[in-house]
């Protein structure tokens, strides 16, 4: 008798019986023995739970906003993965229970159903254009309003994330440099993309609070959430799993909002860039709202295993087309859309060219045993291709009936795969191995164009400095003639005196710590490395900028004199 109980629910409500079972660590016990793929899944689930605990602790210990954003992102990814694995485990257990009770599961077909081969899916060069309005430039009064965004990608039970990117109005689109690779996906895959974003600056009630109060609030927890955090930290060392669905505990910690999502399937796969529509999810009032243009460009490629791995190989005797008596013994390898015929089995490894290659594609016709000499030449199959007007037929003889069967089987499987994977089987799409993830580039907080001005050492400035140095050197013996200015002026201001009183202009040195540079409006925004190629037209020489009230903290350039 099959009775429905809580176990068939995928989502775990807080305080439910299932959650209590988790807490007691009962989740791992099962009445049925776990098949190997379940233990694998269980292992992954345990791993994610541990990662989640680590991320919680890291988040609690974070002081800087950017660290907190990274930690929250890891937490979110771990949470999604945990939910996913748990759901998958539930489904499998359900299937097992159903099988055990003898009832036929409603969604499985006849056992002889052919299943298509798996493949690798790779998505790369993701780019989401943004559409900034001019109000964005002006409403923040030059303060840079920044967002942290990342993508969550999911196929089936595999969830992957991209790096976190900081976005502000200097970027025209969000570009992710990652290649995200999913192995073991079927042709009926659904790749779900979710774009999450969070404000980098403090949002909500803490925005206006004085700094000390704000830090105090953000580092302390409310009573109930504090109790929960303590409980989770305590049970973390215990045997069972901590409350899995603990919400992100940090008060004032960054909150990611789902900005947009979309789902891609086999139809979107192409060896090139394509634009897809995004479904926007946050309303404009939400703090994390970004002006997304509404579409996304990416390169989604798929490599079915049948194209990259040899699906069958063995000894064959091939009759050349048009020469009935001439049989050549070859080692045939069925890979992708070709049947390669090598002279020797070892040739496949050495990389020698095959003797010849028979193309096998959607239009190829394969017939078994249809030869006039069927009696004398058993175990044959013929492969016909049409090249324009001409039809070329190769006849192959297998070693035995069993071998013939396996060759036919391999060919049927290949045809089935080609019909399932469609355009992916026309040609092997190139997948680049994902480069090792670069650490997230910390975007140095830049002021607006009108705040940061840098005076770069130019040739003419250096020349002027030299001239000044020479002149000063000559005047060291006699007191400077402008001392007379001080004679009858009792109450002059202090060191930051106006330029006219101190005629020796400030030495314009290149400052040792490398001041930020001005970015022109058409500068390449994604190039954040300091010391990048000089994009700025050199600024004109400015005399004594220091005395305009900008008190510098560098090496002194003046030797002021004050009357007392």
């Amino acid at each position: 008798m099959f009775s429905r109980n809580h176990r068939s629910r995928v989502t775990v409500a807080r305080g439910s019986a299932l959650e209590m079972e988790f807490k007691r660590g009962r989740f791992r016990l099962s009445l049925l023995s776990d098949p190997p793929e379940d233990t694998e899944l269980q292992r992954k689930l345990d791993h994610e739970i541990r990662m989640r605990e680590g991320a919680c602790k890291l988040l609690a210990a974070c002081s800087q906003r950017e660290q907190a954003l990274e930690a929250t992102k890891s937490l979110l990814v771990c949470n999604s993965r945990i939910l996913n694995y748990m759901g998958e485990l539930q489904r499998r257990k359900e299937a097992q229970v159903l099988k055990k009770t003898g009832r036929r599961p409603s969604d499985s077909g006849p056992p002889t159903e052919r299943s298509p081969c798996r493949g690798q899916i790779c998505i790369s060069d993701l780019r989401i254009p943004l559409m900034w309005k001019d109000t964005e430039y002006f409403k923040n009064k030059g303060d840079l309003h920044r967002w942290a965004v990342f993508l969550l990608l999911q196929i089936g039970e595999h969830i992957q994330d991209t790096e976190m990117i900081l976005v502000d109005w200097t970027l025209t689109d969000i570009s992710f440099q990652n290649n995200v690779l999913f192995a073991e996906a079927g042709p009926d895959f659904e790749l779900r993309l979710e774009l999450y974003g969070a404000c980098v600056e403090e949002e909500g009630a803490l925005a206006g609070a004085p700094k000390r109060l704000a830090t105090k609030l953000s580092s302390s927890l409310g009573r109930s959430s504090g109790r929960r955090v303590r409980a989770s930290l305590e049970t973390a060392g215990g045997s069972g799993s901590s409350p899995i669905l603990l919400p992100t505990p940090a008060v004032g910690g960054p909150r990611y909002h789902l900005l947009a999502h979309t789902t891609l399937t086999l139809a979107a796969v192409q060896d090139g860039f394509r634009t897809h529509d995004l479904t926007l999810a946050t309303p404009e009032e939400s703090p994390a709202w970004l002006p997304l243009y509404g579409s996304m460009c990416c390169r989604l490629v798929a490599q079915p295993l049948c194209m990259t791995q040899p699906t069958a190989s063995g000894t064959l005797r091939v009759q050349q087309a048009g020469e009935p008596r001439d049989w050549v013994q070859v080692h045939g390898v069925l890979k992708g859309t070709n049947l390669f015929c090598y002279r020797q089995p070892e040739d496949t490894d050495t990389g020698d060219e095959p003797l010849f290659t028979i193309a096998i594609n959607k239009e190829t016709q394969v017939r078994a045993g249809e030869l006039d000499q069927a009696a004398s030449w058993p175990f044959t199959l013929s492969i016909s291709n049409r090249y324009g007007e001409e039809e070329v037929t190769h006849t192959l003889q297998a070693e035995s009936r069993g071998a013939l069967q396996s060759w036919m089987e391999a060919l049927w499987q290949l045809f089935f795969d080609m019909s399932q994977w469609k355009q992916c089987c026309d040609e092997i799409m190139k997948i680049e191995t994902p480069a090792p993830r670069k650490p997230p580039q910390v975007l140095a907080k830049q002021g607006s164009l009108y705040h940061e001005m840098a005076i770069e050492p130019l040739d003419d400035i250096a020349a002027v400095t030299d001239i000044l140095a020479q002149r000063e050197g000559a005047r060291l013996e006699t007191p400077p003639p402008w001392l007379a200015v001080f004679t009858d002026q009792p109450a002059l201001p202090g060191p930051c005196s106006p330029a006219s009183v101190a005629p020796a202009p400030a030495r314009i040195h290149s400052l040792p710590w490398g001041r930020p540079r001005t970015f022109s409006l058409d500068a390449v925004p994604s190039d954040h490395s300091p010391g990048a190629s000089r994009l700025v037209a050199p600024l004109p020489l400015q005399r004594s900028p220091r005395s305009r009230g900008l008190c510098s903290k560098g090496p002194p350039h003046t030797w002021l004199q004050s009357p007392v």
Partner: protein, 124 residues
Amino acid sequence: MSYVPGQPVTAVVQRVEIHKLRQGENLILGFSIGGGIDQDPSQNPFSEDKTDKGIYVTRVSEGGPAEIAGLQIGDKIMQVNGWDMTMVTHDQARKRLTKRSEEVVRLLVTRQSLQKAVQQSMLS
């Protein structure tokens, strides 16, 4: 008069007592100072050691209280009313000299001629 950082500074000093002169609302001493730890010492025309960031007298107004008291141009001021002047910023130095509550300032100053005079008297 050069010093090694971290080592005690030894100098021959002369006491100068200046009585401030009231000029309207202000009390003036009648000289100008230059230097300070926030200033560029290489531009100091009076110092023997061009890394010396001390406070120097750059001008003494004629007939003013400083000249009467015996302050000379090029003197390095070591102390003002007990406050050290060898490690101060320019503004701190000016403030210590121009306190409105003090009518008299007692300076300890040093100059190269003093140093030489003492050396000569020691040799002879």
